[in-house]
């Protein structure tokens, strides 16, 4: 499937009705939404916890700072994760 392009200035946030929560049984972070539970892997969790009004560029930069790597190393992965979540209507881009 085609990955939609995401603008650098887009601000990803959780879609209405989607909750980000710690699963008390495992300690992992999960997304809860109508009829669905998504257990987040570490990188998706790292990305989503930074989707608090920051732009895509800012999220990528924050992760690059955290792990002391070049932002271009992360950009494709972050975009792919966000595109997947957007396609499933779990995040909104404003």
């Amino acid at each position: 499937m085609e990955i939609p392009t995401i603008a650098d200035s887009a601000q990803p946030t959780l879609a209405r009705g989607v909750r980000l929560q710690t699963d008390a049984s495992t300690g992992n972070t999960v997304l809860l939404f109508p009829e669905g539970i998504l257990e987040l892997n570490e990188s998706a969790q790292e990305i989503l916890t930074r989707c608090d009004g920051r732009t895509v560029t800012e999220v990528i930069q924050a992760l690059a700072d955290e792990y002391d790597v070049d932002p271009t190393m992360l950009a494709a992965d972050v975009r792919e994760t966000l595109a997947n979540l957007q396609r499933r209507k779990l995040i909104e881009l404003t």
Binding site: P4, A15, R16, G17, R19, Q21, D23, A24, S25, V30, L32, F33, P34, E35, I37, Q86, R87, R88, K89
Partner: protein, 375 residues
């Protein structure tokens, strides 16, 4: 064997319903014990959360007929559960939606029978459609995420494009186009409800095209008509693995249709046992857990941990033995039974058969004097 942790609880809080849809998956016969009280449900909700449950669906029957629904939603939110209301939208007087929102309701799944009032009301056996449109508007106005649920069958499958348009015009975030599955009343009405092969092929194309067109806007979930498949659905993601259901009288079921489909299975009740014990230890939850119970061809099948042998209820209803391979599977020695039903239906041409409307069971409600009527 060791029980995994469950993820979701389906709380069927009442069998009462103002609609009479012939495709209802509720049992055609139910025990008329007293419905669980508010306090009993609150205890069940807390026990479920302690077991690891993350999501609760309030269903029925029609959950809105229970006046204490906001209290149950609040209890579920306090237990950190994601709360879904699965409803016909009736009765939804003014103030009801905001009370549910204020209680913390996360999401509403509103059922529709058609986009056209006359057909919708004919299917529901009640003047319901206009009220549902009003309910959708109220839910939207309250800012609660809205999913539209359509059960698809022979009489409405040709209106799939219009059903999707209705979801767009009501600004739903999510649409479930679920081909009818044959349990309870739907099994009784199978011949009237099963779509033709031609209808199914067209519907699938329409659903796929809509999925692509509305990607990122409306999440479209299409449930396949499993009689037309060659491999069974991975029912429940495995028996006793992720889901549990508590019915209106407190019986705990691995699957909501198990009580009617599998008569030789005895279910435990939350009035006499803890949910934790029932989930881990009960015979009903352990009977088909894992792969040891499986007969051939499942036992040596590379798909056994992908489809889990299909649906136990379907095996029971179509072969008389819940431990058989789901006869939808092309490898099942009983596949001929499904093919016979399909052949018979497809030979009917355009002559749709009559159906029997769902009637409400005689349930003893919490507000009425309890009649001791244990079977």
């Amino acid at each position: 064997m060791t029980a995994p942790r469950p993820y979701a609880l389906l709380a069927e809080i009442t069998y009462r319903c103002p609609l009479h849809c012939p495709y209802c998956s509720n049992a055609t016969q139910t025990r008329n014990d007293q419905e669980l009280t508010t306090n009993e449900w609150v205890r069940v909700i807390r026990e479920a959360a302690a077991l690891g449950v993350l999501q609760i669906g309030f269903s029925g029957g029609e959950p809105l007929v229970r006046r204490d629904l906001p209290d149950l939603v609040r209890a579920a939110r306090e237990a950190n559960l994601y709360t879904n209301l699965i409803t016909s939208g009736i009765p939804i007087e003014d103030g009801r939606v905001s009370a549910l929102r204020d209680a913390g309701l996360d999401s509403v799944q509103l059922s529709f029978q058609s986009d056209k009032t006359d057909l919708a009301d004919e299917i529901a056996g009640a003047r319901a459609h206009q009220h549902k449109l009003e309910a959708a508007a109220k839910i939207r106005a309250a800012g609660i995420p809205l999913s539209l649920n359509f059960v698809i069958h022979r009489r409405n499958i040709d209106r799939l494009p219009e059903l999707i348009e209705l979801a767009e015009s009501l600004q739903a975030e999510r649409v479930e186009l679920a081909n009818v599955q044959f349990y309870g009343w739907a099994f009784l009405n199978r011949a009237a409800l099963l779509p033709t092969r031609e209808q199914v092929i067209r519907a699938r194309e329409i659903a796929m095209a809509a999925q692509a067109r509305l990607a990122g806007k409306i999440d479209i979930f299409y449930v396949l008509p499993d009689y037309y498949e060659t491999r069974p659905k991975p029912c429940l993601a495995g028996w006793g693995q992720r889901y549990l259901t508590v019915n209106p009288i407190g019986d705990v079921l691995p699957c909501p249709t198990a009580s009617s489909a599998i008569p030789d299975l005895r279910f435990e009740n939350v009035r006499t046992r803890s949910l934790d014990w029932i989930w881990r230890e009960s015979e009903s939850f352990n009977r088909f857990r894992g792969t040891e119970w499986m007969p051939e061809p499942c036992q040596t099948c590379p798909q056994r941990e992908i489809d889990f042998g299909g649906c136990r209820c379907q095996a029971a209803l179509l072969t008389g033995n819940a431990a058989n391979t789901d006869p939808v599977c092309e490898l099942s020695p009983n596949r001929a039974r499904v093919d016979a039903a399909l052949r018979e239906l497809n030979s009917l041409g355009d002559n749709a058969l009559d159906w029997t409307y769902r009637v409400n069971p005689k349930v003893v409600t919490v507000n009425e004097p309890a009649v001791a009527a244990r079977r």
